[in-house]
Symmetry: C2
Subunit: 216 residues, 2 copies
DNA sequence: ACCTGAACACCGTTCAAGT
DNA sequence: ACCTGAACACCGTTCAAGT
């Protein structure tokens, strides 16, 4: 054994298997991951600095898969809607990954560029510098929150009491996935309407017809 | 040693110390918690079923501390605003606790009753049964998302590139806490406006002046 | 350069033993 | 009833040893 002529591992193979593992519903860990890769846990450290880096690398890979491409000339509100929907799609494709991310600083440049594009679009739309980050935070908050909704257990509330308001509604409710879907649509609609109105109040001229000519 | 005449532990003492530990920024765990309590880790299992139950008990205690009390006759939109602000205040008081919660089913009755009140208020406001859970989900999503914003590291984005749009905005930006605050206010405003408009479209009569006479 | 295997400092949880 | 202490099955990470 020892060093094989052709390497058993690569960063890509590690990241792919890690994501597959998470999607399978297994709890993510380097020991279990090494097992799936048919390798000793310590071998991973030749390619990767540790557990945290693997998570961050997955985030980067997803940002790659769900690349944000905006055609020049697209109205700002369509850009915002597209970007939020795209992020939602990303989370929806790998719902169990999101919980691993909470509270971790973004370092992957591919993810950074995603926020870059969003910030650029908002600035071009006419949002003042002082507000762009706030709006980005609102959108990020919303995408994160509704993404977490997707990774939540099927039964969010465990209420045995069928006579309560909540209990009655839960009985006749459809599954959590479509509720989450509708809630996303509802929230997105509210936010977009709010942003349009807000921008209109700031610079009435630039609002609905304004087009974006170039991004970043 | 062995069994002392007066018990060293109680569920309350365990929960209090656990929350204090989380607020201190230490990573939560039963071994470390036992250490802080001056007790053997296995002793905790006489009072509590394990790590997960402690987390859920903390959630219940917080729901207790930040009890939702709505005066009968309060307009529905004020109820919604109050409830969302209250939840935000709860998360803000213990920002590091929230990440421990994601993806866990709510079982504590004190937390359930919180959602009960919200659902009851929305129904009385005139939202149709089929939509109440969706609206609750939107509000929950928003509260959760902006709560997580509070527990995020000070540097959410690590961008060395000061020439980029994001980099330039980050340099002149104030701290994350007040940005998070403004984003919360912005988002809440959008959602409330959206809900009012939405309700108005459904049942024009019941909207702004409607008052709630009793809750749950 | 890239793998193995032993080792370390941790986890959460169980259980017999003591009072 | 309520604590201790040993034990078990795990973690993530380091490092010397091998090719």
């Amino acid at each position: 054994m020892a060093r094989p002529k052709t390497p058993l591992l690569s960063v890509e193979r590690i990241v792919n298997e890690a994501l597959a593992m998470i999607d399978d519903g297994a709890d993510f860990g380097v020991v279990r991951l090494a097992e799936r890769l048919g390798v000793n846990p310590s071998s991973l450290y030749n390619h990767v600095s540790g557990r945290d880096e693997i998570v961050e690398l997955i985030r980067g890979r997803l940002a790659d898969d769900f690349e944000i491409v905006v055609e020049p000339g697209t109205p700002w509100d369509e850009v915002v809607e597209y970007v939020v929907r795209r992020q939602r799609a990303m989370f929806a494709a790998h719902p169990l990954f999101l919980p691993l991310l909470v509270g971790k600083t973004v370092t992957d440049p591919r993810v950074i560029s995603y926020y870059e594009d969003l910030a650029a679009a908002l600035r071009l739309a006419g949002f003042p510098d002082a507000e762009v980050l706030d709006v980005v935070a609102v959108l990020d908050t919303f995408a994160l929150g509704s993404g977490l909704d997707l990774s939540a257990p099927a039964e969010v509330w465990k209420t045995p009491d069928a006579t309560s308001v909540l209990g009655r509604l839960l009985v006749s409710a459809d599954d959590g996935a479509s509720r989450s879907e509708r809630a996303f649509e509802l929230g997105l609609r509210f936010i977009l309407a709010g942003l349009r109105e807000h921008l209109d109040a700031i610079s009435p001229a630039a609002s609905p017809a304004a087009a974006i000519t170039s991004l970043s």
